[in-house]
Symmetry: C3
Subunit: 259 residues, 3 copies
Amino acid sequence: MQPDLLNSAQIAHTSHLIRTCSPLVHCMTNEVVQTFTANVLLALGASPAMVIDAAEASQFSAIADALLINVGTLTQDRAVAMQAAVESANAHHKPWTLDPVAVGALSLRSDFCHQLLALQPAAIRGNASEILALAGMSKGGRGVDTTDTAADALPAAQALARQISTIVAVTGEVDYVTDGRRTVMVTGGDSLMTRVVGTGCALSAVVAASCALPGDRLDNVAAACGLMKQAGAVASANGAGPGRFVAAFLDALYVEEKA
Amino acid sequence: MQPDLLNSAQIAHTSHLIRTCSPLVHCMTNEVVQTFTANVLLALGASPAMVIDAAEASQFSAIADALLINVGTLTQDRAVAMQAAVESANAHHKPWTLDPVAVGALSLRSDFCHQLLALQPAAIRGNASEILALAGMSKGGRGVDTTDTAADALPAAQALARQISTIVAVTGEVDYVTDGRRTVMVTGGDSLMTRVVGTGCALSAVVAASCALPGDRLDNVAAACGLMKQAGAVASANGAGPGRFVAAFLDALYVEEKA
Amino acid sequence: MQPDLLNSAQIAHTSHLIRTCSPLVHCMTNEVVQTFTANVLLALGASPAMVIDAAEASQFSAIADALLINVGTLTQDRAVAMQAAVESANAHHKPWTLDPVAVGALSLRSDFCHQLLALQPAAIRGNASEILALAGMSKGGRGVDTTDTAADALPAAQALARQISTIVAVTGEVDYVTDGRRTVMVTGGDSLMTRVVGTGCALSAVVAASCALPGDRLDNVAAACGLMKQAGAVASANGAGPGRFVAAFLDALYVEEKA
């Protein structure tokens, strides 16, 4: 079955919803990307908050509109806090999103991510290697890099989505967002997005935010991917390198916000 | 009693003092804002250092000129280390500043912040919800956002300042800095300051730095607020979005520094 | 014996090697500089990854091409994980680099760094105070600041390099890179590099990357220092302050990369 192509009206619609609903996103993410993640959410009009202690994380997931779990710099303490937050989110019917950074190659996060799959994520966002590893179809890459294209991992993404009734976004040069039945393809972006840290992780935070929006979740998650690719294309158009790209990228998300 | 309005000569004076005294500021702050906080202090000519292990933090607070405690990503381990640092700062007559991020809604930080109030902070910097919660006059917001204006929290700030003999800066669109008797009002700034993460947290670090300066502490803390608002206004004048704003904001602080 | 002066052909050669070999650098570094460190490595064409749990860090050091240990925000847990990673790196013949941030003044990191010296670092990168403290010739500064010039610490650097058979880069306004017999001097750079956080820490990550390259290690490490000084000079040429400098610095590293 052919994937649908994301249309730009959906991007504008979801962007409007983020801005007007301003979801409070509880981000339990890795140490490297916290600032950029917060700034991406703020640029879009969402409200980020990072709360990491197990007791507080559990309290906060009940209050927030959405939860992001990113295992990039996982420790055993963080895993305990993340699990408490996920359980609280579920108890309070708040959607949570998993970013399984570098799953497959490393044991703590691999065990933890597989364990989390039983706790009903609303969405999963990863690169091809990560989705293949999560679906049990590969051993993962050496880290956050991927040698597979998103298209290679689409069957794994679809199988995983059906298996645990979630939405899987497998992202790369082209993104695919699927619930296992319908698949939306998202094109665009720019290679500079891979030369600055955190674009993938921040996308996962936007996916988390979009899971809290009204409307079709698959469409909103696909639009989250589209929003980021669109900003990447705008930001790279000025011809600068990765340093100025970061600033221009946030500005592009914000221009979207004012539009 | 009418608040005084901060005058720009005081801003220039305090800015000059920061640059010439270059206080070494021990920042125990949240994971999200550490880089920006360090860059703000460096741009102003102060010297930041982040030391977080309990034993080292205790040693370092004795050496540093000022200490900042920001509970944004508090954990139990960090609370232990922070308390050790505060006790050491007090033993060595170094001023310490509290930023009670999101106090009220979350139990670990709320208990911890109330406990710290007994340890004589030189200054407290928070938004209206945080100051209201700290003064026992509300339950706080959902996170770092505030639905009250700083003016709403001014009576709470004044009561808190008198009660524990400290200076309280309650900040927002307008800032109020008070010792419970005299109050200074600080206007200016730009709404983009709320669309990038860390402007409030970095302000708390500048407040911590200004507590180490000679002269009137209330005036220096108010000037710290004024310095940041002034840089925000300069940085927003170029019409860019939040990405380029961050860079322009640091440049504006640095231009101040060279003036 | 007179130090050699680094020539720009070596900078271009090492830059080319980083880009073509794209070493995967396992960065166990401090919380303040993780984003900037990752972005510096990405701009140069290397591949950063931050993995911090003890079990995972040990696994990952076996996979990565190089390991960086930076003790800037050391905790006891992190020290355990770092030691496990170093031992794994050694077992798998992967070079590891030490950045002994603020060694001397603080006990946990001082004990830990001295203990790590027995585990054969491929390179050590520090400022004058840090190298003097590590060589047992001073008590270190108050933090990351240094009151000594790199030239003052050159004898200590040479002695330390000979004693444990490593390469020591002592950096400042002028850098010296030595194996205890041959010494290369690196000039250039700009004072703005000291007004933004992380340039020294990110340099250590580039040193770590260059230890994984083919060719003469001393020359590659010196070229790593030269690459950063060259980018600093380019970035400061636009006359902006520290905010825009950071972006221009990454762009300059990236321009190098495309050259």
